[in-house]
């Protein structure tokens, strides 16, 4: 690598690379850790932790379309108490900065979870998955109105000993209000987008395909949607943006970095190719060298000039 990929995420951390692994697609299983140990990953986000344990949604939980998947895992996890007790056991061997993703059913639950997370030392940030798991699973955020959204971000920022990243669902990105509200209420960074609410039918059986009826769409097909959102939101906030949605190769990563992301995050394609980060970085390297670009700020400027 010719480039210094150190990525400053404001007061969160200086990451070794701008590539993050998204919530729900990073895990601590041995098989996975074997595969990623040599990857230059900037940070990893835990699966979203809730206050109480959740057993997740009925099978099937994953549908695959031509270039997307729809999932309804249902935030299966053992709850924050179990998470904190086992944190050292599960995470001490992870060679990357850890961001803890959390989700609550209401404003007060977020604060309770944060207080529990405060007992830990090593995470670099807490990511708020503000997608109302009980209204709709993964990423279906419509129920949370702007006011309670802002209050949640504010309370979490106040209480948390770690910097806060606010993760936006696509429907919180249709204009810039949610992003601006998160910024005003103390978030240190913004990440977007979560999965797009979606539904798949088993036509032959005239029934929903997923055990949970509805789910969230992710993967390559959502990239143009996510990209537009990062592009718009970049213009209206100053906090760093972690861009994600369908990243599957270095061009996707560059696109997000061009339109305004400070770091990018890989979700679905990390399930398929845990060795993607280094492949992406190597190709970014070639690209920047060829274009005689020295850092991502310069890349952003070049793109801005072409607007």
């Amino acid at each position: 690598m010719n480039f210094d990929y150190k990525t400053e995420l404001k007061k969160i951390a200086t990451l070794n690379s701008p590539i993050i692994i998204s919530s729900g697609t990073f895990g601590t299983s041995g098989a996975y850790l074997d595969l990623i140990k040599n990857q230059n990953i900037g940070a990893v986000v835990t699966k979203t932790i809730t206050l109480e344990a959740k057993s997740g949604n009925p099978q099937p939980r994953i549908f695959e379309g031509k270039n997307f998947i729809v999932n309804s895992i249902g935030l299966e996890n053992n709850g924050v108490y179990d998470f904190v007790i086992n944190f050292d056991k599960n995470y001490k061997n992870i060679p990357f900065p850890i961001i803890v993703s959390i989700s609550g059913n209401d404003e007060s639950e977020y604060v309770k979870i944060i207080k529990k997370i405060n007992e830990l030392n090593s995470p670099v940030a807490v990511e708020l998955n503000l997608s109302c798991p009980n209204v709709d699973s993964e990423g279906l955020a419509s129920a949370m109105n702007l006011k309670s959204f802002g209050k949640t971000v504010f309370n979490c920022s106040q209480v948390s000993k770690f910097p806060i990243i606010t993760k936006l669902s696509p429907f919180q990105c249709i204009n810039t209000m949610y992003a601006e509200t998160a910024e005003k209420n103390g978030t240190t960074a913004i990440s977007l987008i979560n999965t797009v609410p979606a539904m798949v039918i088993d036509t032959e059986n005239m029934s929903p395909f997923l055990g949970n009826t509805v789910g969230g769409m992710s993967g390559p097909a959502i990239k143009p949607i996510a990209l537009k959102m990062v592009h718009e939101i970049y213009k209206s906030v100053t906090v760093p943006i972690i861009g994600m949605g369908g990243i599957s190769n270095y061009r996707d990563a560059l696109d997000f970095l061009m339109v305004g992301a400070t770091a990018v995050s890989i979700g679905t394609m990390n399930l398929v190719d845990p060795e993607l980060p280094n492949k992406i970085l190597k190709n970014i390297d070639n690209f920047l060298t060829k274009k005689n670009i020295h850092d991502f700020d310069e890349l952003k400027k070049r793109f801005q000039k072409n607007l």
């Binding site: 729900g24 697609t25 990073f26 895990g27 601590t28 299983s29 041995g30 098989a31 996975y32 074997d34 595969l35 699966k47 057993s55 997740g56 009925p58 099978q59 099937p60 939980r61 994953i62 695959e64 379309g65 031509k66 270039n67 997307f68 998947i69 999932n71 895992i73 299966e76 055990g211 993967g219 390559p220 679905t268 394609m269 990390n270 399930l271 398929v272 190719d273 845990p274 060795e275």
Partner: protein, 258 residues
């Protein structure tokens, strides 16, 4: 064994039954690394599929991995069109494995491509001097990959093949479940099962209280224990088929959600 990925050359890809193929992959990294019951995650195509597809190991000898797969959808159709000389990427070895009992009398019960991990297992069982009988069921003669099974006959003490419909004497008409009634199951120390969910569910009734392991299939996201796409209910709580399984005790699986 550490999990790893490898670009494997396809050595050949041969049609073995109506919609069944045996594909042979050349491996360097995974020579002698598979335990019976392990599976791998294979990228059928980078163009037409998103996720990898899980397949059990039928056999691995001398760095030649054989998989027996059936064409059921976009991924396996694409895989059936892949040609020798081309490369596919795999992640392996994945999952837990069957408990290989020594010096026992055991029965393998398999349906469709469920025979794949069982045939692999039979090799390990015979090495440990267990006596292996096999009861395998298929839809019909076209569905029966005779070559694959006959190839492994030496390891099998008895081999019973059931076909849903047949009038040939060498086969038994009906399902494996039907045929099981004719066998004295008490003479076996252990049972190893793999096949369609409905068949497994029935087996779990019939084999209640026996020592029996089942290799399960579930729709997988990652196959490496990170996405919780493959979680199933068991008597000991939610378990991931890919990393807690695919081998479970037959009687710990709760079937109503499949």
């Amino acid at each position: 064994m550490k999990i790893n990925s490898e670009d494997c050359k396809i050595l050949d890809n041969i049609k073995m039954s109506e919609d069944g193929y045996v594909i042979t992959l050349k491996t360097v990294k995974f020579k002698d690394k598979f335990s019976p019951g392990n599976f791998l995650q294979l990228r059928c195509s980078e163009e037409n599929t998103v996720l990898r597809r899980p397949f059990s190991i039928l056999e691995e000898t001398d760095g030649h991995i054989k998989l027996y797969f059936k064409v059921v959808g976009r991924g396996t159709r694409r895989l059936s069109n892949r040609k020798s000389g081309e490369t596919v990427n795999i992640i392996a070895p994945l999952g837990n494995s069957f408990t290989v009992l020594a010096k026992k009398r055991v029965l393998l019960i398999g349906g469709g491509c469920g025979i794949s991990p069982l045939l692999n297992l039979s090799f390990f069982l015979s090495k440990k001097q267990s006596i292996v009988d096999a009861l395998f069921g298929f839809r019909n003669e076209q569905d029966y990959p005779k070559m694959i099974v006959e190839n492994r006959k030496r390891e099998l003490n008895n081999l019973w093949i059931t076909l849903d419909e047949t009038n040939k004497k060498e086969y038994n008409e009906g399902t494996t479940i039907d045929y099981l009634k004719k066998i004295n199951i008490d003479m076996y120390d252990a049972f190893y099962c793999c096949g369609p969910v409905k068949m497994m569910e029935k087996l779990s009734d019939i084999l209640k209280g026996k020592w029996a392991q089942v290799s399960l299939e579930a729709r997988m996201g990652c196959g490496i224990g990170i996405c919780y796409g493959c979680s199933i209910k068991t008597t000991t709580g939610s378990r991931r088929v890919c990393s807690d399984g695919p081998v479970f005790n037959l009687n710990e699986v709760i079937w109503d959600e499949f």
